[in-house]
């Protein structure tokens, strides 16, 4: 994603003092670990309480207001299916989520490594890749609501 840490690549001038690294390392690792705990808790809840059954979770507000699907519709059901190792089911609910999940995991690993080593973010994605992501998201948003494509893209 945005930054892939290259261990050992830090310029000598970019390294904080050893004392500062030790002091900040334990505290800064708390954030990625905390996020992971929240994510695992959420996934466990979704695995236990089935979002395929009505009434367990709120309806997507965008769908409720407009009657149209948004890029996130089906995400809860997709996570539930993934917790139960049903990749095909998850894909049928929200393929975008399934595609983006590995990237999110990689970003989390990079974040954890950065936090643990105290290394600075060094790599910047070219802006056009993010604009491409935006265009894909918007196209996906529209395509989900096209009846001809609904069998593949709609939840």
């Amino acid at each position: 994603m945005t930054a892939t840490v290259q261990p050992g690549s830090g310029a000598p001038s970019a390294c904080p003092s050893p004392a500062a690294r030790v002091r900040s390392g334990a505290a800064r690792v708390a954030a990625p670990v905390g996020v992971a705990l929240v994510a695992v808790t959420g996934a466990a809840l979704l695995g236990a309480v089935n979002p395929h059954q009505p009434g367990h979770y709120p309806t997507c507000p965008f769908l409720w207001l407009t009657g149209l699907y948004c890029p996130g519709c089906g995400s809860l059901r997709a996570v539930h299916d993934l917790v139960h190792l049903d990749l095909a089911g998850a894909w049928s609910m929200n393929p975008f989520l399934v595609l983006v999940l590995p990237a999110l995991l990689a970003a989390w690993v990079a974040w954890l490594r950065r936090a643990a080593t105290g290394a600075a973010r060094r790599r910047v994605l070219p802006a056009w890749t993010i604009w491409t992501i935006l265009a894909l998201v918007l196209a996906y948003w529209v395509a989900r609501n096209v009846p001809a494509l609904a069998p593949w893209l709609a939840p």
Partner: protein, 173 residues
């Protein structure tokens, strides 16, 4: 696109700058007795493939992205402005949170966050440090708002359901 571990052009001696401190796989010491009886082969001049600055040593970009001097896709960081010490790292663009809120929050906030994330990187690549930080601040604000709105909607729904106001009839998130 150049990867950090791509083999470097072995004969581009001009790129292995004179300041390169160590050449771990090359430049056998002059006292080496040449154990196989041959004079040092001139066609392999000190094998700079693994020592030729894989992460840069490009003095022109002291605080930037020194490992990618030749790749057009990875812009070098702008020159460090006043008050940024040895060259500040690029600002956080919160792209992950933007995508998370797009996937999980069902609101246009996530899409706006992606716009700001792209602005952060674009302005940073153009050398506009302050503009990048301003976009980063907006991206952070939108990420927080997405999380807050989602939390409020979820808790509100739970409260209404517990109160019995909402009939359990739908699930389409």
């Amino acid at each position: 696109m150049s990867q950090p571990n791509d083999p470097q052009e072995p004969f581009s001696l001009d790129k292995s700058g004179p300041a390169e401190p160590a050449q771990p796989y090359g430049a056998t010491p002059p006292s080496d007795p040449a154990p196989y009886g041959s004079t040092p082969d001139p066609t392999y001049p000190s094998a700079p493939a693994y020592g030729s600055a894989p992460y840069g040593a490009d003095p022109a970009t002291p605080g930037g992205v020194p490992g990618y001097p030749a790749a057009p896709g990875y812009p070098t960081a702008p020159p460090p402005g006043p008050g940024y010490g040895y060259g500040s790292p690029p600002p956080q663009n919160y792209l992950v949170w933007a995508i998370l809120s797009t996937v999980l929050c069902c609101l246009p906030l996530g899409v706006a966050s992606i716009v700001f994330a792209a602005q952060v990187n674009g302005k940073w690549a153009a050398g506009d440090v302050q503009g990048a930080q301003e976009s980063a601040r907006k991206a952070k604000t939108f990420a927080i708002w997405s999380a807050a709105v989602t939390l409020v909607l979820g808790l509100g729904y739970a409260a209404l359901m517990i109160a019995g106001v909402i009939a359990s009839d739908s699930s389409s998130m």
